[in-house]
Symmetry: C3
Subunit: 455 residues, 3 copies
Amino acid sequence: MQELKKLNTSLNEEILRMDRLFDQLFPICRSITGPGLRETLEILSEYIPLEHFSLASGTQAFDWKIPQEWIIRNAILKGPDGEVIADFMEHNLHVINYSEPIDNELELEELQHHLFSIPSLPEAIPYVTSYYKKRWGFCIPHKKREELKPGKYHALIDSEFVDGGINFSHAVLPGKSDKEILISSYVCHPSLANNELSGPISSTFLYERLAEKPRRFTYRFVFVPETIGSISYLYKFGDDLRQKLHAGLVLTCLGGNESLSYKKSRRGNSPTDLMWEHLVQYKEIHGDTRSFTPVNGSDERQYCSPGFNLPVGQMSRTVYATYPGYHNSLDTKEFMTIESLHESVNELEKLIEALEWDGYYVNTSPYGEVKLDKHGLYPDINAPGKTGLFSSNDLNDQRVQLSRILTILNYSDGQHTLREIANQCECSILQIIPIMELLLSKSIVTGPFEDRQEL
Amino acid sequence: MQELKKLNTSLNEEILRMDRLFDQLFPICRSITGPGLRETLEILSEYIPLEHFSLASGTQAFDWKIPQEWIIRNAILKGPDGEVIADFMEHNLHVINYSEPIDNELELEELQHHLFSIPSLPEAIPYVTSYYKKRWGFCIPHKKREELKPGKYHALIDSEFVDGGINFSHAVLPGKSDKEILISSYVCHPSLANNELSGPISSTFLYERLAEKPRRFTYRFVFVPETIGSISYLYKFGDDLRQKLHAGLVLTCLGGNESLSYKKSRRGNSPTDLMWEHLVQYKEIHGDTRSFTPVNGSDERQYCSPGFNLPVGQMSRTVYATYPGYHNSLDTKEFMTIESLHESVNELEKLIEALEWDGYYVNTSPYGEVKLDKHGLYPDINAPGKTGLFSSNDLNDQRVQLSRILTILNYSDGQHTLREIANQCECSILQIIPIMELLLSKSIVTGPFEDRQEL
Amino acid sequence: MQELKKLNTSLNEEILRMDRLFDQLFPICRSITGPGLRETLEILSEYIPLEHFSLASGTQAFDWKIPQEWIIRNAILKGPDGEVIADFMEHNLHVINYSEPIDNELELEELQHHLFSIPSLPEAIPYVTSYYKKRWGFCIPHKKREELKPGKYHALIDSEFVDGGINFSHAVLPGKSDKEILISSYVCHPSLANNELSGPISSTFLYERLAEKPRRFTYRFVFVPETIGSISYLYKFGDDLRQKLHAGLVLTCLGGNESLSYKKSRRGNSPTDLMWEHLVQYKEIHGDTRSFTPVNGSDERQYCSPGFNLPVGQMSRTVYATYPGYHNSLDTKEFMTIESLHESVNELEKLIEALEWDGYYVNTSPYGEVKLDKHGLYPDINAPGKTGLFSSNDLNDQRVQLSRILTILNYSDGQHTLREIANQCECSILQIIPIMELLLSKSIVTGPFEDRQEL
């Protein structure tokens, strides 16, 4: 009871700490390069031990060239009477991300070419970017746009492009095996909640939990600007990932009210792809499954590009482009909720627990059945039902456990994974972990092995 | 007509001989070791040429140790007034199989801990064993148990444990090939019919039938005590089986009114697994199919343990644990019926006939079609329907046979088994045996081969 | 508009030329050997550059022996009053193909053994052959047969068997690759339209069309007498085909009102088998699919004999043996129609276009995504929907094309065929050819390759 209370307290503390991290990160004007990106990575460093990397502007990374850094100091749009129409200091979505500098007066008609709004969401400030083509512009609520009156407007954007580079970071949690599980999220959108901070915050607190447990696999937590950042990461660490990666997940849009939604890796049969479907089948996790597609998504598009084809899927909750607040100022903490993030971390931990136990196992007495009564695992009398008065013989009534033991031992032949064995038992892998702990402790089986074993 | 009469007579004789063997074997008090087991194997030797083997008590066979022999001479339970409650001489199920000796007076309350009965079958004497834990006890009808009155009871069990060994036997019928088909049944239950004698009796008479025919495969008929006996057999002959076994069947519970029921091997695609499903599909045999499971069953659990994984399935009719008389005194000849056993032998013979013919065949003229009219197998005129008056041209009307010949020749490429070719013909393998005999006699095809052949 | 008119004119001209070829070929009395066969091949030579081959009478070709040539000069059956019952000069179906000579008077009763007719089609003259057994006979409408009166009939067949050989021809259209596509049709039936001339006429005009285009594959157009001719062709060129054949089609019965019907090759997964099903799935061609069978059909029975097992299917429209005019005088140009043949050529050309483009492709920048905006293939701004006034940014609205480009690039990994990639795009291969032309022109992908490529 006290244990439970302690656990609840620590969970509540975790939610409070997630909330604090959110509040630290939300106001920052991030982009794919520049000071906001660096500030974000530094704040994350206060929670987990990040290593920082960069590629200089102008570097050719595969088919892409690292752009100059974008420095934004101020952006303000004033109306004919000097009234403020949009102010970067008030909301950093008001300026097109990567806007070139401007300080000019212009008529409303001309200004319209530089304004963005969403007619169907008249209160929302849209999020607009133009990374690779020089442009300038302001984003405002459509309602406000419709009220603009003719006249001279003054557009001021105090931005600058400078040589610098792109920044990205990772933290590696070593395990018994060199084989790695990748957790990747992105840190390049300004003040957006579900479609920005849900990923790195979940990732950070998942790291904290795994750090406290023994680990079979090594875990690599990666934080990058989306697309150009994962391409840069692959440019630097792609060969490494190709050799070591056992499984991987891109985390994005993990807030909101939906149940989880998993997008499979391009391979379609990666350890995570198979385990996800197993856990959903046995109702350990509720959620739906999406096929891989290169047409939309997040950094799994890069990890699963044909030259890498890594076993990386993507986990979301309220999926990008399916909710009104996507890419505009309605994507707030209130919409996302810290509680949803916390639940996401719980479910990710469950998936990882299952991956940790999966693998090939070997029955150490594979010739004929194991003599289970020697180990106290088999009834020592064969009598009808419960009619015997030797009712202390509890195992007589433990048919489910006994059936599972017999099934596990028969298929622990170095050729079936524990997930497949659980399927034979018609239950989830999580349900047979206690039996595996028992059988391992008695040296009746050995494992898990990553590769098939000959008996 | 006379042939048919002769055949019927010989079938009737076979049923009479099966009945006689049953009556010889039923009264014997068998166990997994000891005199009853040996007596059973000696009686079977009168029918088929068995070789006998044993492993000494104390031998470690894989994870199991061969127990001491159990000698049972007498067991009688008397009531307060000296009346007989249970008498081993009257029915050998009255004593727990492998009971330790006892000669003691005790109160009813204490005695209850040593009594077994089945409330739902108040007339039945249950069959109880305690091979690996020392115990003593009596099995009685529940009806009788409820009438027991308080007082002093006298329990006498005159049994003994002695060093000796475990006995098992086999008979090998050589064929043209070293490849073997295993037929295994068990001989360790006392007076039970369906769940004991149905197996060895079917096996014995199947042997007799196969002995009279030319054989492609070598047949190995094995008689063992269940579990410890098949483990002992594998301990001695496992490597041999691993090298030679083409297919195998454990025979158990082959009596009763049901149609056959086949439990597939662990491989799920053994020659017998595939042939059974083929014969059922084309209604040559009626029956149902069970998946492999290590959770219950008979000696296929040992043959299919992961270290061996032999291609051994199990054939039953009225399956263990699904009928009221299972493991009690209701499992009698009247329940089982000799006629059912006889029908089982017929159907097993049919399955074996199919396995004998299955394999890869080679068309000796595989380039272009065979010129079938040279062999009298193709019409020598191409004319519409039956309008030609050359109506002696019978082949015009033998479209079914001609279609099958063309199909057989096209797929006799050394890559398709005869079963697969029969599937192409949309008929059972048994239905095309006459055509194969014709084609083989004309050297248009050769075979069967056990492995794929290159043309 | 003028282009279209020109195209229509050329199509009309093509139909007229097909009609002319039909009229040249129809009256000839073809057989599996002899002058009619040679005359047919010579007429086809006026359209396409055939090479001629022969095997001498008596040659053993696999299991078959080349027969003597059959020369037929005249055949006339006269009634008791000298009236003409059947006259070869009037219709060459009146005489059994390969009739031996006769010049005899005989009673009606005896004559009946030499008459063939179809009671259910009383107006039709049946087509009857007896190639490998010496016979003589006349084929007449059943209506006429029923009117025959008793008396002496005079049967005259002026035929002859002479040593000579079997003739067959091919025309090879070289392509960039040595890999070949075979188009085979037969030229051995006398005056029959759908079940004779539809094949060689379609083949001839398909040749003409392919000759005018650049070709990836080499095309081999084969014209043979059915069965013995394709066996002879395989005897001479079988090894060649085994090495070079990528895909193949036997053309038969391509006239009539039905939609196309494709019989798969024996392999069941040849390039044509897979492409046919793909094009039918995406409604590029309407038609049905038949499984391979060696029981009936045309020369695919020889190409797909087990010793060759070539990737050859069969294309038909109104399939042999399913229409009343099959193998009798009702199989006329009016039944077949030249327009149907023309449509068959159009659809065959479409199938070949698809095969030409299919194969493995390689993305030249497979690490991370291709930077598509460099090539003008990606929007240079990321803004909500159509609200931006930069509406010249057409690519924003070309989501279908962009999705297909992303999908093609992701799966152009040297491991997926273009047909499989089209399936990923959920459209037909023909629909993505324009995109492939674009990507190839920009060197973003290379291909097609016939074999899998490592990146």
